[in-house]
């Protein structure tokens, strides 16, 4: 039982990062019909912010997290204005693939500026140690991604539902033309959505550095699983993306635990295929 619980817990932690990536992808897709292939690279950049904050200032990832989110939020705005907004005026294929090109640019830039080797945080972190519940041992650092995922999901929900900007974003996602007619600046709604998704990935990257190594290409796997989570959750559904991300983390870890680590990804794929064959539009798709 405790092995199972431990596996479940680890799975939820792993799934939390996927959930965070997936929520960003779902937000961007739901609002502007852009497939955000660069979400994994925003995660990677968030990890590097955490790394340098730790190396230069000795900061813990949780302390560096607001900084990381802010840096990625601003970067998201710049990227939206310089690249995405232009692509949106172009043909549909370039709209779909623009973030793919962007992700490669970011990976190679990171290689150029930060080097290609694997890194871990050079200075010791303060938020560490374990909590022993008897049936479950919790590494404190690993709580960070999970709590972050919960907080982000809650904040996104609140923001979209109750704030003026959030409502404007929802209206724009339903009908961009009508949004303009009621006085919303649709371009602003797009910019904020893209930047928010990017900030969420940045914060996730920060949390990840507590126990994961970083290198320029680290985002690729998370990106791929994030996409699958979004597909499973029902494209555009943020709640769906959140829950599917957690579910995939659990499937992944439990398969590794009970079947074989070598084939643990198969568990995720089976869950995905079963989910999609019963509900082709995703668990929460309409």
């Amino acid at each position: 039982m405790s092995v199972f619980l431990q596996g479940l817990y680890e799975g939820i932690i792993n799934g939390s990062i996927l959930a965070l990536i997936a929520m960003g992808i779902a937000l961007v897709w739901g609002v502007m019909n852009i497939l955000s292939f660069s979400q994994g690279e925003f995660l990677m950049l968030g990890m590097f912010v955490s790394y340098y904050a730790n190396r230069l200032l000795g900061l813990d990832p949780i302390v560096a997290m607001p900084l990381s989110a802010l840096v990625l939020f601003v970067l998201g705005i710049i990227i939206y204005k310089l690249i995405i907004a232009r692509a949106l005026r172009g043909p549909i294929l370039s709209q779909r693939l623009i973030t793919f090109a962007l992700s490669m640019v970011l990976v190679y830039s990171a290689q150029l500026f930060f080097g290609a080797e694997y890194k871990t945080l050079p200075n010791p972190v303060k938020f560490s140690g374990t909590i022993d519940l008897g049936f479950l041992t919790i590494a404190k650092q690993k709580l960070v991604p999970f709590l972050l995922a919960l907080i982000v999901a809650g904040l996104l929900f609140w923001f979209l539902r109750y704030t003026r900007m959030g409502k404007a974003i929802q209206a724009t996602s339903m009908d961009r033309y009508a949004a303009g007619l009621v006085g919303i600046n649709p371009d602003r709604a797009y910019t904020i959505s893209f930047a928010l998704a990017s900030a969420v990935a940045g914060a996730a990257g920060c949390a990840l550095t507590y126990y994961y190594y970083l290198y320029p290409n680290v985002g690729a796997t998370f990106q791929l699983w994030g996409f699958i989570a979004v597909a499973m959750g029902g494209f555009g559904s943020i709640t769906g993306a959140f829950l599917s991300g957690l579910l995939m983390g659990i499937a992944d870890t439990l398969t590794g635990l009970y079947v074989n680590t070598a084939i643990k990804y198969i568990g995720v794929c089976v869950v995905f295929l079963v989910a999609v064959s019963f509900r082709p539009k995703g668990i929460f798709g309409k």
Partner: protein
């Protein structure tokens, strides 16, 4: 109040409106009629900042608004109820109306406007909790107009408000538009229902192949042989 001067506009560089001019006096109802595809909707889109002005100019209260984006025009007092309603389908009726007052920040003021709309349109109030895309066509049209009024426009532009409605509802909508005018709002209306529209209008323009070809008071156009033949069924 509004002056459209020799405007040319279109989609992706291809013009569909070649030369349109019209003038709208404050407090009047001006109609724009013409056959399908003559460019009425496109002209209104150009006026409300959704299509580029390729030639000519648009003046609102004496000031050029060519190239000004839709959302800015709302703040300047221009509101458009587009063809096809364009409600926010997954939002409630009430939220749709609230979005209509997006440019207003004073909550008390928004609530006041909402209540005055509900007073004018009790049926909209009855439906306020319902999701917009589950409304009937007539109800949707009412909500679309109501949403357009929430910004308290000085100039209200209506593109085919009676499209797809049964005659009784058409009459109701026309009466409602008349009341909007009486409250001091200037109205531009595009309609298939040419007779009823011309009867109600102070002035009217006829569009053909992307050009405004005829104009006159509603009564004059109703009597015009050419107009009768082309739009009033003989």
């Amino acid at each position: 109040m509004l002056k459209v001067e020799h405007v040319k506009t279109g989609y992706d560089g291809v013009p569909v409106v070649h030369n349109a001019s019209l003038q709208v006096e404050q407090g009047s109802i001006v109609a724009l009629v013409g056959s399908n595809g003559s460019g009425k909707t496109s002209l209104l889109r150009a006026v409300t900042g959704a299509l580029p002005i390729m030639r000519g100019d648009i003046l609102y209260k004496g000031q050029s608004i060519a190239g000004v984006k839709s959302f800015k025009l709302v703040e300047m007092g221009i509101s458009m109820v587009p063809e096809g309603r364009h409600l926010f389908g997954k939002m409630s009726v009430r939220d749709n109306l609230l979005m209509g007052a997006y440019s207003v920040r004073d909550k008390g003021e928004i609530e006041k406007r909402l209540q005055s709309i509900y007073k004018l349109l009790p049926r909209v109030e009855e439906r306020q909790r319902q999701q917009a895309d589950t409304l009937s066509g007539g109800e949707q049209q009412m909500v679309a107009i109501a949403r357009g009024l929430m910004s308290k426009p000085e100039l209200l532009i209506l593109d085919e408000p009676s499209l797809g409605l049964m005659p009784k509802l058409v009459t109701e909508i026309f009466e409602f538009i008349q009341r909007i005018k009486d409250s001091g709002v200037t109205v531009i209306i595009v309609e298939q229902n040419a007779v009823a529209t011309l009867e109600m209008s102070d002035y009217a323009y006829v569009m053909q192949n992307g050009e405004t070809v005829l104009e006159g008071t509603g009564q004059a156009l109703l009597a015009d042989e050419q107009v009768k033949k082309a739009y009033l069924g003989g």
